[in-house]
Structure formats: C-alpha cells, structure tokens
C-alpha cells in the first residue's frame, strides 16, 4: 500500500467517533490511514464526500434523519463510491441480513485488530446497491442521482410523479426533474404505499393527484382518462389497463 487510506467516519454519537479515531491511530503502523472527515449524520456525510476523496467510509447504522443503510444506497451511485464498512451495536436482524448479503460490518465495541482486518479487506470494494436494497428495513426517505460527481438528494415526499423514459426514470418535483438510475419496477416495489401506477411507464404520488378527467380524443381514438397533478398543472394519461385499479385506489 503506497498512500494511506483516506477514511470518513459517520456516527451520530461523539464518543463513538472519538473511539474510532483513537483506534485508527493505533493501527496506523499496520494499516496506514488518515481520517479526512467526520460526519454526524447521512447528510453531512454526503456533503463531506463532495469535498473529499474517500477510500472507505465507516458508517454507523442507527442514526437520526438518514440511517446508515440509506446513506450507503445513495453513496453507491457515486462514480467514485468509497467502500463502506457498517458499524452496529446489537441489531440481531441487521447482522443476519448482512451475513447473507456479504456486506462488511463490525460490531461495537470495535476492536483494533478487527478494524485493521476489515480495512484491508474493504479496499476497492464498491458498495453493492442491490445487496443494500435487500438489507434495508424501511423505504428510503430520499432518492438520489449523481450529477457531476456529487449526489443530489430528492425527498420522496416532494416527488409528484416518476416516469420511465428509455434508460432512465425521471422524478418530477414542483421545481424540476431529476434523472434516476433505477428501474420503475423496483421503485414501485419500495415506494408502492405512496405511489399509484397509472401507466406502464408512470407512477404518481397519491397526494399529488388532485383529480381525474375523461378526455374524448379525436376520431379513431378511444376516450381515456387523465390524472391532474397538483401544483404544476400537468396532466398524465391513464392506461386502460391501470384505470380500474386506479379508480379503486382513489375511492379508498
């Protein structure tokens, strides 16, 4: 190893960050490393990743705001995503899931030797977005897209609709559109409670629907329904196949 590993520490509890720093200093001879940044939550961590090149992020799982797993799923979209080692105190469930998905983790209290081993093992191991999705216990609160080497967070609550277009999915908020590198099917699976499918290529946020309107098209075109979207005055066509399910969902 020529240059020292560049590390990011993410934990909401100050003593836990201090402890990691101490341990990393202890194993510096064995595994050269430097802590380039610390963060107390997911957002701070993403901001730190914009400013610093990081090889490995040490991430606590249970954090307020954005938990460690969600953070990792966003980080996985970065072109130069750091490897991630999770830290957990006693989450039985998480540990089992991690074992099954071959995701690196360390149990707290972290021991110096285990930390050293994990760092060596983790080098250049990109986070696996699919595996992270499997171990996540809750739907994400944000979706993310990578733009010019940084992560843009899109709060799920702000999204009016998601539309598949060729290779990408577009997330529309009141202000703008974001390109997401995820499939609409997966998004529907994760966020199905908050979104309604109105078309093969389109999911609409339940709360964004202000009404539906029947449109009688030109000749030779059968009449169809359109969903009115709150705030932006757009209308989206409902496919004939989705209409019965949508009607039932809107009545409920």
């Amino acid at each position: 190893m020529t240059s020292p590993l560049r590390l990011l520490i993410v934990d909401d509890e100050a003593p836990a960050r201090t402890r990691l720093r101490d341990l990393l200093a202890d194993i510096r001879d064995q595994v050269p490393n430097e802590v380039v940044a610390e963060a107390a939550n997911g957002r701070e961590a993403l901001a730190a990743l914009e400013r610093h090149a990081v090889d490995i992020a040490l991430v606590d799982i249970r954090m307020p705001g954005m938990d460690g797993i969600e953070l990792a799923r966003h980080v996985a979209r970065l072109p130069a995503a750091p490897s991630i080692i999770f830290l957990t105190a006693f989450d039985q469930y998480a540990v089992q899931a991690f074992e099954l998905s071959a995701i690196d983790y360390l149990l707290k209290p972290v021991r110096a030797q285990r930390l050293a081993d994990a760092l060596v093992k983790a080098v250049r191991r990109r986070p696996d977005a699919a595996a992270l999705g499997r171990v996540a216990t809750a739907a994400r609160e944000h979706l993310s897209c990578a733009e010019r080497g940084r992560i843009l967070l899109v709060p799920v609550a702000d999204i009016l609709y998601l539309k598949a277009e060729q290779k990408y999915v577009t997330a529309r908020t009141r202000d703008r559109e974001y390109l997401l590198e995820e499939s609409l099917v997966q998004l529907e699976e994760e966020l199905g409670e908050r979104f309604l499918r109105i078309h093969r290529n389109c999911l609409v946020a339940r709360q964004a629907v202000t009404g539906v309107e029947r449109v009688s098209g030109a000749e030779e075109v059968e009449p169809y329904w359109e969903v009115l979207i709150a705030g932006i005055g757009e209308r989206l066509p409902v496919s004939r196949r989705q209409w019965p399910a949508l009607k039932a969902a809107l009545k409920a």
Partner: protein, 342 residues
C-alpha cells in the same frame, strides 16, 4: 416482612384476605351478584319476570354483602391475623348477622315477623360467605409471598438494560480523551448495576427511584450530549411516596430510544409526578419521531410494568399509554403509601 412489601402482604402465616382492599370488595360483590343471577335463572318460571326477580334478590343480597364487608374491614387485623378457621367463623357470622339484620329491617315492608323472617337469608348468606371465603383463601395462597416474589424477580430480570451496553461503548469513546468523565460514568454505572441486581421485591421511596433515573440520564448524556433534554416536574409530589422499584428507568429508557435517538434535533422528555389526594400520578411524555416504529419493545416494557403494578397494588394502580399529536404519553396512577413507622 416490611409493611411496604408486596401489596401489604400477610404479615403472619395466618393472614387472610384484606377486607379493606377495593379489589376484595369488587370481587365479592361481583361473585354475589353472579350467584344471585344463577339462582334466579335456575328457579325462574316466566322469562318476562327474570329482571324483576333478580332485582328483588339483589336488593337483599347487596346490602347484606356491603354490611358484612364493612364489619370485616373495621375488624381489620383482629380478624386477619387469626387462624384460617377463626377467620372462616368470623366471615360466616358476619354474613349471617348482616343478612338477618337486613331481613329484619325490611320485614315490615314484606309484612313478616322481624325476628323469624331472618333465619332463611342468614343461612343462605352464611353458606355463600363460607364459599367465597374459601375461594379468596385459595386465591391469597396462590399469590403467596413466595410465588409473587418469584414472579416479581422474573419480571425485573426481564428488564434488559440496553443502556448498560450503550454506555460501555460510550465510555470506551471518552476513556483516553476525558479520563475523569469516563471514571465518573463507570461509577454511576456501578450504582445502576447495583440497583438492577438488587432483589427488587419491595416498594421503595420515590426519591430513590428519581435518583436512579437521573443517574441513568447522566450516562445517556455521555453519548447523546445536548440532544437529550429532560424536564422534571416532581416538586409537588411527596418524595417518601412508595413506588415499585425500576418503574421509572425502563420507561425513560424507552422514551430515549423512541423519542431522542431518532430525532435529528434536540428533543425533550417530560417527567411529572404529582399527588392527587391519596393517589400518586406519574406522567411521562416524549416526542415521537416515527409513530410506526414505536412498537414491540415498548409494548413489552409496558406489559412488564403493568404486571408488576398489579402484583404490588392489585386493582388500585393503573397504567395508560397512547400516542397523540406526535407525542407518546404514559400515565400511571397508584395509591399514595408511605413506609410505616415514620
């Protein structure tokens, strides 16, 4: 055994049911009415008259039961500390005398002789009283100190102190940079361990319970810092009120876990103790970051505390918990008792 031990349990091997306890009154009255109802149904010929017949019988039985219970409650220890046989005699005599008295007083209404008309109700009441006494006796025995204490021990042992583990991790974090703070934390932790390992089978003063909770919160501050805010309102409550041990700490631990840890901003837990007449009311409130997550672990803690309250106070204590307006509230009320001999 101390007077503040489990539900003022029997202080001698003979001690019988406490006829001053609301739980006993409730059970006796329910049983009496149930027996009356069954008897009326059995003897009834015309279903339309069922309600009238029941009221007729109940009107005689209830004053009888109340009268007998009052007499026994007044007699108090003089009865409770006799042998089981003498208690049975006292209960039977009290019931028979009460029945005879009620019958004699209502005889003019029914046009009978005050003296003679009483023998039948007296006999029936005596038989019912003997049966009920036997039932209460068995019940008391089933809840004998040994059984109750074993149950209490088991319940207390089940309080799994996650915070001890969290604290160890936090102490490891500061041990090099702030050795004195680490030292103080370990000392407090030792105190808490002692409290947790104690045989927690007797009530103890509220002041001790509050001190324990404050120590616990000091430890949590080590890792949570300013995120953890607590507002205490305990001035108006007598500190000598007796409460079950480990009542407060597990509830506050829950509040920290569900109210403080998931919150990005500093959040506040409110603890309030007050005295309302002869009752102590405890209220705990914490903000709720995510209502859905407030789940299983908390229910277990609440069930645990509910059962311990029942073991200590029978029907005289109650616990309610509910989430509303982004807040989670737990309310416990229990009778105000102090250690005897003060």
């Amino acid at each position: 055994m101390d007077a503040d031990s489990i539900r003022e349990m029997p202080d001698s091997p003979f001690a019988g049911p406490d006829f001053a306890a609301p739980g006993i009154w409730l059970r006796v009255l329910l049983a009496v009415n149930l027996i009356a109802f069954v008897a009326v149904v059995a003897s009834n010929r015309d279903t339309g008259l069922l309600a009238d017949e029941f009221l007729g019988v109940a009107a005689m039985l209830e004053p009888t039961a109340l009268l007998a219970l009052s007499a026994l409650a007044l007699a108090g220890r003089h009865v409770r500390q006799r042998s089981t046989w003498l208690q049975l005699v006292a209960v039977t005599v009290a019931a028979a005398a009460s029945a005879w008295l009620v019958a004699a007083m209502t005889a003019p209404l029914r046009g009978g002789s005050p003296i003679i008309s009483g023998w039948r109700p007296a006999l029936v009441s005596a038989a019912m009283a003997a049966t009920l006494f036997h039932w209460l006796h068995l019940r008391t025995r089933a809840q004998a100190p040994a059984v109750t204490e074993a149950r209490l021990q088991a319940l207390t042992a089940r309080i799994r102190p996650h915070f001890l583990f969290n604290t160890l991790n936090a102490v490891l974090g500061v041990i090099r940079s702030e050795p004195r703070r680490a030292e103080a934390a370990l000392e407090e932790m030792a105190d808490l361990f002692r409290a947790l390992m104690k045989e927690n089978r007797t009530l103890h003063p509220l002041s001790e319970e509050i001190a324990l909770a404050r120590q616990y919160l000091n430890l949590e501050r080590l890792r949570l810092g300013d995120r953890l805010q607590v507002r205490w309102d305990v001035e108006s409550c007598p500190p000598d009120a007796l409460v079950p041990p480990l009542l407060l700490q597990p509830l506050i631990e829950n509040a920290v876990y569900h109210g403080i840890e998931p919150a990005s901003e500093p959040a506040e837990i409110r603890v309030r103790f007050s005295r309302e007449g002869d009752r102590i009311v405890f209220e705990l409130e914490n903000p709720l970051a995510d209502a859905a997550s407030h789940s299983h672990g908390n229910q277990m803690a609440l069930a645990n505390i509910r059962e311990r309250l029942a073991l200590f106070f029978d029907l005289e204590a109650g616990l309610d918990a509910a989430a509303a307006d982004g807040c989670y509230r737990v309310r416990i009320q229990l009778p105000y008792r102090v250690r005897e001999g003060r």
